[in-house]
């Protein structure tokens, strides 16, 4: 299964991602999920970033929270709503919201 996960929260949902398996997994950080992509706790990046190489963050939600691409973990690509639509239609067969 090619699965896209739209991660909208910072404190919940990691448990779901931890045990999901997919032939291709993509994680799109939106809403408060952007903190996974742009913050560190005790100097450590979010462990979710180790789950796949296909990591994206919604620029609008990053900037709304006072963050920029300069804050981003180097593994995460900043994208637009238009890109989210393309990922949903072209890259993943199913998309879930956490």
């Amino acid at each position: 299964m090619k699965l896209g996960v739209i991660m909208s929260d910072y404190r919940t949902g990691s448990d779901v991602i931890d045990r999901l398996t997919a032939e291709k997994l993509g994680i799109i950080f939106v809403g408060n999920g952007v903190y996974h992509a742009a913050s560190k706790e005790a100097g450590k990046a979010s462990s979710i970033l180790d789950k796949t190489n296909n990591l994206y963050v919604l620029t609008e939600d990053l900037e709304s929270r006072g963050l920029t691409s300069a804050n981003l973990d180097s593994r995460v690509k900043a994208i637009t709503y238009s890109d989210v639509v393309d990922l949903i239609f072209n890259d993943y067969e199913k998309t879930i919201w956490l």
């Binding site: 699965l3 779901v16 398996t21 199913k94 879930i96």
Partner: protein, 137 residues
């Protein structure tokens, strides 16, 4: 003639939000979906309870007594009465120390024939792979 399969994955605790209740009521509504579709076309819904969501499956919920609203248990029972597949994650039950006898497992008392299934997470993962669309609540 075609059947589209949906899997509702309920991972939220009951009552504080409507998420698990709406997962069940939406899944149950698959029973009347034909009115919108061509003859022979169907939408088949399954529901899986994972993580904190397994708490929705405890029996003896008394929401009607205390709040005057239907219990999640009642909706689970209706889904079993309608022969829907209901899956409960075994590992998550074990994590909370919940045994099968504490769960709503059937709808025998209202004429249901299908039982809820306690399954390893790997079975739920397989179901996720086999359906057309995934709906996490």
């Amino acid at each position: 003639m075609a059947t589209k399969k949906l899997l509702f994955v309920a991972r939220s605790l009951p009552y504080k939000t409507e998420a698990s209740r709406l997962a069940l009521t939406h899944a149950i509504s698959s029973q009347s979906v034909e009115i919108y579709l061509k003859d022979g076309d169907l939408v088949e819904a399954t529901i899986a309870f994972v993580g904190d969501g397994v708490m929705n499956c405890l029996k003896n919920q008394q929401a009607m007594k205390h709040y005057g609203i239907t219990s999640i248990e009642g909706h689970m029972k209706n889904s079993l009465l309608l022969d829907m597949k209901v899956m409960i994650c075994k590992e998550d039950l074990a994590k909370f120390g919940i045994k099968e006898d504490a769960l709503l497992m059937d709808a025998d008392d209202i004429g249901g024939e299908v039982k809820a299934q306690i399954v390893p997470y790997s079975e739920i993962q397989k179901e996720m792979e086999s359906v057309d669309h995934l709906l996490f609540c």
